[in-house]
C-alpha cells in the first residue's frame, strides 16, 4: 500500500516521468517486493505496539546466536547440537522411511532449541515478536521448512523475515557491495554481493571448514599427540616418571568437545609456509608425497584419505605400539608402524616433518578426562599437543589443488572468476571474511597471503598427477591468469593486520571494517537490519496459515517425492526457488490462481 501512495508523490516531483510512471502503479506494487534490498516503509506501522524490536536468530548447524534487533551484540550464544555434534549435516538418508525418521528427530531437536531460545534465553513472548531468521544461502530447504513450521505453528510468531547471512554480514561491515566468505562448520561459502543484491549464481562453496579442521586436528593428534594417563594410585606417584607412562592418544579421549576446545583455545594459523624450503609451491606435495599420490585415485583428497586410513591403522596398533615410546614429548618418532609405513601415515609423517620445520609454537599440556574404561585412575589425564599441530593444523584449510575441495583462497578466486568482469575489481577489494572458523587468530592475514600466492603461483593445479610416464606434461593450466592484474587490489575488509599499502595511488579497504568479530557479523547485520526496519522478505503468519490450510493430499505428495514436489510450504522465499529471469514484464494475471502466482513473484528476490 505504501508504494501505491508513494508513487504519485514521487511522480509529482519529476514531471517528465509522470506519464510513464502513473499508469503502471499496479505493477510497481508487485515488483517492489522483488527488490530484496531494504524496503522499509511497510514495517513502520507496527512500531505502535512497543515490540518493534525483532528477534534475530542466526541458526548455525552447531552454534546459534540469538538476540534482539537494535542491540550491538547477541543476548545469548548457544550450542545447538548435543555434545559438540552438529544439529544437522548436509547428508540426508536416501530411503524415505529413514529420511522421515531423520526429519522427525531433527524437528524435535529444533523445536526444543527454538523454544529454549524464546523461553529461556530471551524470555519473551513469541506471539508478539517478529523474527528475523539469518539464513545461510545453502541452508537445506527442508530445514528451513521445519524451522518455519515450528516458529509459526508451535511458537506462533507473527512473521518471519528471511535474510541472507552474507548480505547481513556485509551490512555489519558498513557495505552493500563485497565478496563475502562465510567459513562455518559444515562448509565455506563465497557469495559476491553487489549493491545489496546477492549474486547467487556466482556462489562457490567448499567442504573445507570447521568440521574438516576438527577431523584433521584429531587425526594429527592421534598420530603425533602424547597422552599421559592419570596415575592409578597416589602412592606410586613419585616412582613412575611421566615419560614411561606416556602413550599414544587413545581414540576415546579425543571426543568432540575436547577437539572443540583444542581448536578454539589452542590453535592458530601461522604464516605462509616458506616456499624455498619445501621445494614445491603447494603444501600437499612435500618430497615424499609422490609415491603416495600414485597409490590413490586422483580425485581423493589427501587429508581425508589419510584420516580414514589412520582410523584403520590406529585400531590395530593402539595396544602394541606405544610400549616403545622413547620419550615424553617426542613420541612421534616411534609411532611409525613396525611393518612399513602405511600410505596415509607416510603422508601425515611428511606433513609433520614439514610443519615442524615451520613452526615455533610451544607444546601445550592439557588436562582431559581419561577414557571411560580407564577411569579408575586418579584425576585427569594429560594430553600433550605439539606446537606445530597448534600452528599448522589449519593448513588443511589452505591446501589447494583439489577440484572438489578448493582451499579458502581458491574458493574466493573461483567465485571472482565467475563474477562479471566489471565487478571483479570492486569485489576483490572488498572481501569480507565471516564465520566461526576465521575466529582462529591469524586466519585472515593468512588468507590474504594465500590469495596473493594462489594468483602468483604459475600453475596451481600442477600438483595433480596427470602426467603419464611417456607423455610430456601438458602446458600448465593457468587458472587465475585473468585475476593477476587485480593483484594489488585484493583487500580483506576485516583484516586485523592489513598489509601496508603497496602504492599510494589507490586507497585500500583492508582493515577498514568495524572491529566486529567474524563469528557474530551476520548476527550484528541482522540486528542492524531489524533496527533499520528492513531485512529480507517477510512472511506473515496469515500467509503461512493460508498455505497450510490447503488440502492434505499435497502433503502426501511431498512425502513421496521429497523436495521437488510443489508443496504448500513454498510461501517461504528462497533464492533456489527463484523463477527464471523474466525478460518482458509479466502479462496481466488471470484471476484464477492468485495464491500460486504471488509467492513466485515474491520469491523473485
Amino acid at each position: 500500500m505504501s508504494t501505491v501512495t508513494a508513487t504519485p508523490r514521487r511522480a509529482g516531483h519529476d514531471s517528465s516521468n509522470m506519464a510513464t510512471t502513473t499508469p503502471q502503479t499496479t505493477r510497481v506494487a508487485t515488483s517492489h517486493i522483488i527488490q530484496s534490498s531494504p524496503h522499509y516503509q511497510t514495517t513502520r506501522r507496527h512500531s505502535l505496539y512497543g515490540t518493534e524490536d525483532r528477534v534475530v536468530i542466526d541458526p548455525g548447524s552447531r552454534i546459534w546466536k540469538v538476540g534482539f534487533s537494535g542491540e550491538g551484540k547477541p543476548r545469548d550464544v548457544l550450542t545447538a547440537g548435543d555434545n559438540g555434534s552438529s544439529l544437522w549435516t548436509l547428508n540426508r538418508a536416501s530411503k524415505p522411511a529413514e529420511r522421515e525418521e531423520e526429519d522427525k528427530m531433527l524437528e524435535a531437536r529444533l523445536q526444543s532449541r527454538l523454544r529454549a531460545v524464546f523461553h529461556d534465553s530471551l524470555m519473551t513472548d513469541p506471539k508478539s515478536r517478529k523474527v528475523i531468521l539469518v539464513e545461510h544461502p545453502l541452508m537445506p530447504l527442508h530445514i528451513k521448512d521445519i524451522v518455519a513450521r515450528i516458529l509459526f505453528d508451535n511458537l506462533q510468531v507473527p512473521s518471519i523475515s528471511f535474510a541472507s547471512s552474507h548480505l547481513l554480514a556485509l551490512l555489519a561491515a558498513g557495505r552493500i557491495t563485497g565478496l563475502v566468505l562465510d567459513c562455518g562448520h559444515l562448509e565455506s561459502t563465497v557469495l559476491p554481493i553487489f549493491s545489496s543484491r546477492p549474486l547467487f549464481p556466482q556462489l562457490r562453496t567448499t567442504p573445507l571448514a570447521g568440521m574438516r579442521l576438527s577431523s584433521h586436528i584429531r587425526a594429527l593428534l592421534l598420530l603425533f599427540g602424547t597422552y599421559i594417563p592419570p596415575l592409578t594410585s597416589l602412592s606410586g606417584a613419585a616412582n613412575i616418571p611421566a615419560a614411561t607412562r606416556s602413550m599414544r592418544v587413545p581414540d576415546e579421549v579425543l571426543a568432540g568437545p575436547v577437539i572443540e576446545e583444542i581448536k578454539t583455545r589452542c590453535c592458530f594459523v601461522g604464516e605462509t609456509l616458506d616456499l624455498a624450503d619445501s621445494g614445491a609451491t603447494r603444501v600437499t606435495s612435500p618430497s615424499g608425497d609422490d609415491s603416495f599420490e600414485h597409490d590413490l585415485p586422483p580425485s581423493s583428497d589427501p587429508a581425508s584419505m589419510s584420516e580414514s586410513d589412520f582410523s584403520r591403522v590406529s585400531a590395530s596398533e593402539m595396544d602394541s605400539n606405544y610400549a616403545a615410546s622413547s620419550g615424553f614429548s617426542v613420541v612421534s618418532r616411534s609411532q611409525v608402524h613396525p611393518d612399513g609405513p602405511r600410505p596415509g601415515e607416510t603422508h601425515l609423517q611428511a606433513l609433520a616433518e614439514m610443519y615442524k620445520r615451520h613452526s615455533t609454537a610451544t607444546d601445550l599440556h592439557m588436562h582431559i578426562d581419561p577414557p571411560r574404561d580407564q577411569q579408575a585412575g586418579t584425576g585427569k589425564g594429560t594430553l600433550i599437543i605439539p606446537g606445530w599441530i597448534r600452528e599448522r593444523g589449519a593448513e588443511v584449510l589452505f591446501e589447494g589443488g583439489d577440484v572438489d575441495e578448493s582451499s579458502m583462497a581458491e574458493v574466493i578466486l573461483d567465485s571472482l572468476l565467475k563474477v562479471p568482469v566489471d565487478l571483479r575489481k570492486t569485489l576483490a577489494s572488498t572481501i569480507l571474511v565471516v564465520g566461526g572458523t576465521p575466529m582462529l587468530p591469524g586466519f585472515i592475514p593468512r588468507l590474504q597471503a594465500e590469495l596473493v600466492r594462489a594468483i602468483n603461483s604459475s600453475a596451481p593445479t600442477s600438483t595433480r598427477p596427470p602426467s603419464r610416464p611417456g607423455r610430456p606434461r601438458p602446458a600448465p593450466y593457468d587458472r587465475y591468469a585473468p585475476l593477476r592484474p587485480l593483484l594489488p587490489y585484493f583487500a580483506i575488509l576485516n583484516n586485523p593486520s592489513p598489509p601496508p599499502p603497496t602504492s599510494a595511488s589507490f586507497v585500500t579497504n583492508a582493515g577498514k571494517a568495524p572491529a566486529f568479530t567474524p563469528a557474530t557479523m551476520a548476527w550484528v547485520g541482522g540486528s542492524l537490519a531489524g533496527a533499520l526496519k528492513t531485512g529480507g522478505v517477510e512472511v506473515a503468519r496469515e500467509r503461512w496459515d493460508e498455505a497450510d490450510a490447503q488440502p492434505e493430499d499435497e502433503d502426501d505428495a511431498m512425502e513421496g517425492t521429497a523436495d521437488t514436489a510443489p508443496s504448500s510450504r513454498n510461501v517461504l522465499p528462497d533464492w533456489t526457488r527463484t523463477p527464471l529471469p523474466v525478460g518482458a514484464p509479466p502479462a496481466p494475471r488471470p484471476q484464477a490462481a492468485p495464491i500460486i502466482v504471488t509467492p513466485q513473484t515474491e520469491v523473485g528476490a
Partner: protein, 557 residues
C-alpha cells in the same frame, strides 16, 4: 536400566496414535508423568513441547528481586543491582572492600563487611579467588554496582559502532525506498545489478566516460541506482586494523601470544568469549564480571483452548502455584517392575553365599531379559482421583503409518509378544488417609485368590510365570501382571505401546460440559451416563534383551 513407563502426548504427530516405540524419534513424544499437564477444557494431556509459555514475572536468582518487565528489556535480562557472576567459574561474586591502608586492624573478615570498608571496592570470587581489580574494575561505593558499571556498557564500542552504522544506512534506505517506488516503471529491467555495476564502474574508473550514459532513456532512474551504488564509504569508528594495533585483540599480538602459549588456561574458553561481538582479548585475565541473568516465572497455557494450565505465584520467594493442572492429578500413575529380576537378585545373593565365584557385575546379566524366554512383569496403578476407577489395558497395535513405512513394518515380525490382562480391573479411590497407613494394611483387598497368587508368585517364580491378571490390591494401588514372550532371535529393547483407558464417575457438572465440547473421550456404552471414559497411550520399556550366547556362557560359569 530400570523398566519405565512414559506417557504419550500427541502434539508432535499428526495422528492420535503414538509412533512405534522402536523408532528413536518416538522418545520425543513420550514424557514422564510428572512433566505433563492436563487441560480440563480439552480433556487432553499437554506436554512441555506444545504448551504456550508466557512469562509471568522476572526475578534475579541471586537477590530474588522481582524486576518489573519494563526494565527487563533495558537491562538486557540481567540483574541491575549488585549481582555478578565470576567470569571464570560462574560463581556468584561478593563485594569486598580494599584492605585498610595500615595493617594494624585485624584482617579476619574483610569479606561482606561492606558497611565499613575502604572506598575502592571490588568484586571477589570465593571459589576461584578471581577479583575484579585484575581487570581494573573498582567501585567507589558498595551498592548499585551495576549502575556504576552502566556507563561502561553504554559506551561499549559495539554499541557505538552499531549506532554509527545505523546512521550511515538510514539516509540511504530512505532514498532507496523512495526511489524504488519510482524507478521500476522506467528502469526496472535495467537496474539489474550487473548493468548498474557496469555503468558505475565505468563512471568511476574512466573520468571521461562518466558523461556517457548507455541508459540515457532512463536517466532519472539510473541516477538513483548509481547513487545507490555510490553511497559514501562507511568510515568505521574503530577499524579492525586499528583495533588490533591498540591491543583490543586480533592481529599480530594474538598470534604471538598463541605461539608462546604455556598453558591452556591462559586462553579464555570460547564460551566465555562468544557473546562478544566486538574483537576482544583472548586472555583469560581480561574477562569481565558478568551480570547475573534473570530468571523468569512462567505460566503455561493449553495450545488449543488457551486456558491456563499452570501459573506460579508472583512472588519470587514463593514456590507455589496459583493454578496447577498437572497430569499426575488426573491420570493414574503407572510403574512397572520385573519380578524375575528381583527373584534373580535373591538367588544371586544365595549363590554368592555358597561360592564367591560369581562376581557382582553378573547380577544384572542374570536379571536381564533373555531371548526365547517368557517373563512376567508387574504394572502398578495408583489412582489420584477421589473416586474409584475401572482400568482396562490394551496393547496398542503397531499402527501402519501412512505412506511407505507400513510395508516395512509388517515385513518385520515383532520380536516379542505381550499379554496383558484383558478384563477391566478396579482401583480404589484416593484418600488422604492412605498416605498415613502402613503398607501392611490391605484395605482394598476383597479377592483371596489374588492374594494367594501373589504369595505363590513370590515363593515360586517359575510355576507362576503365566499369571496374567490382578496380583495385588491395596489402598489406591492395584498391581496387575502381564507377560512378555520373547522370540529366539529378539534383540534390542522390549518396548511396547499400551493403551490405558479408565472409567471414572463424573459427579460435578464440569465434565459433562467437557463432553459437550466434543472431547476425545467417549461415553462407555454399558455404563450409566455419569460414568466417563478417558484413554491415553503409554510406552512401557521393560529393558534390553541380553544377547543369548553371552548369558548362557555366564550362567555356565
Amino acid at each position: 536400566m530400570a523398566p519405565s513407563v512414559d506417557y504419550y502426548c500427541p502434539c508432535l504427530a499428526a495422528s492420535p496414535h503414538p509412533p512405534p516405540p522402536h523408532l528413536p524419534s518416538s522418545s520425543d513424544s513420550f514424557h514422564p508423568l510428572h512433566n505433563l499437564f492436563f487441560c480440563e477444557e480439552c480433556d487432553a494431556v499437554r506436554c512441555n513441547r506444545c504448551v504456550m509459555v508466557e512469562v509471568s514475572g522476572y526475578y534475579c536468582p541471586n537477590c530474588l528481586f522481582e524486576v518489573p518487565s519494563a526494565s527487563v528489556r533495558a537491562e538486557k535480562n540481567r540483574c541491575a543491582r549488585n549481582c555478578f557472576l565470576c567470569p571464570n567459574c560462574r560463581n556468584t561474586l561478593s563485594v569486598v572492600p580494599s584492605d585498610p591502608p595500615n595493617d594494624g586492624y585485624d584482617r579476619m573478615s574483610p569479606i561482606v563487611s561492606t558497611s565499613l570498608g575502604e572506598p575502592p571496592f571490588f568484586l571477589y570470587c570465593n571459589h576461584c579467588r578471581w577479583d575484579s581489580a585484575q581487570v581494573d574494575i573498582t567501585f567507589e561505593k558498595p551498592t548499585g554496582l551495576a549502575a556504576q558499571l552502566q556507563k561502561f556498557e553504554d559506551s561499549a564500542p559495539e554499541a557505538l559502532e552499531f549506532d554509527r552504522l545505523k546512521e550511515h544506512f538510514e539516509p540511504f534506505l530512505r532514498a532507496s525506498s523512495s526511489s524504488s517506488a519510482v524507478t521500476p516503471s522506467s528502469s526496472h529491467h535495467h537496474s539489474n545489478p550487473i548493468t548498474a555495476a557496469a555503468s558505475s564502474a565505468l563512471a568511476r574508473d574512466i573520468p571521461g566516460v562518466s558523461k556517457y550514459n548507455p541508459l540515457s532513456r532512463s536517466r532519472s532512474g539510473r541516477d538513483k541506482s548509481s547513487h545507490k551504488a555510490d553511497i559514501p564509504d562507511y568510515k568505521a569508528r574503530m577499524e579492525v586494523g586499528a583495533a588490533a594495533g591498540m591491543g583490543a585483540g586480533g592481529g599480530e599480538a594474538d598470534l604471538e601470544f598463541m605461539r608462546h602459549l604455556e598453558t591452556v588456561a591462559e586462553v579464555a574458553t570460547v564460551e566465555q568469549r562468544w557473546v562478544n561481538s566486538w574483537v576482544s582479548s583472548l586472555h583469560t585475565d581480561d574477562l569481565k564480571p558478568l551480570r547475573i541473568p534473570l530468571q523468569s516465572k512462567k505460566s503455561k497455557r493449553c495450545p488449543s483452548c488457551r486456558h491456563i494450565l499452570i501459573k506460579p505465584e508472583q512472588k519470587a520467594q514463593s514456590v507455589r502455584y496459583k493454578i496447577k493442572l498437572v497430569a499426575a492429578n488426573y491420570l493414574p500413575a503407572i510403574s512397572v517392575s520385573l519380578p524375575h529380576a528381583r527373584a534373580a537378585l535373591e538367588t544371586m545373593k544365595r549363590s554368592l553365599n555358597r561360592s564367591a565365584a560369581q562376581s557382582e557385575d553378573q547380577s544384572p546379566a542374570a536379571a536381564a531379559l533373555l531371548a526365547g524366554k517368557t517373563y512376567s512383569f508387574h504394572i502398578s496403578f495408583t489412582n489420584p482421583l477421589y473416586d474409584p476407577i475401572q482400568v482396562r489395558l490394551k496393547k496398542a497395535q503397531a499402527m501402519p503409518a501412512p505412506g511407505t513405512e507400513g510395508a516395512g513394518e509388517k515385513a518385520k515380525r515383532p520380536p516379542f509378544q505381550v499379554n496383558l490382562p484383558s478384563a477391566a480391573f478396579p482401583i480404589a479411590a484416593f484418600a488422604e488417609a492412605w498416605e498415613y497407613e502402613d503398607d501392611e494394611d490391605m484395605f482394598g483387598l476383597d479377592d483371596d485368590d489374588d492374594l494367594d497368587g501373589l504369595g505363590r508368585l513370590q515363593k515360586d517364580q517359575r510355576s507362576k510365570t503365566r499369571t496374567v491378571g490382578v496380583v495385588e490390591k491395596r489402598a489406591n494401588v492395584t498391581v496387575v501382571a502381564g507377560e512378555v514372550i520373547l522370540t529366539k532371535e529378539s534383540r534390542g529393547n522390549v518396548k511396547f505401546n499400551m493403551l490405558v483407558s479408565y472409567t471414572y464417575r463424573s459427579d460435578d457438572p464440569d465434565p459433562a460440559e467437557e463432553n459437550a465440547m466434543g472431547t476425545p473421550s467417549r461415553h462407555a456404552s454399558s455404563k450409566p451416563p455419569e460414568m466417563k471414559n478417558f484413554s491415553f497411550y503409554t510406552v512401557v520399556d521393560l529393558g534390553t534383551i541380553a544377547p543369548r550366547e553371552e548369558t548362557i556362557h555366564d550362567t555356565d560359569m
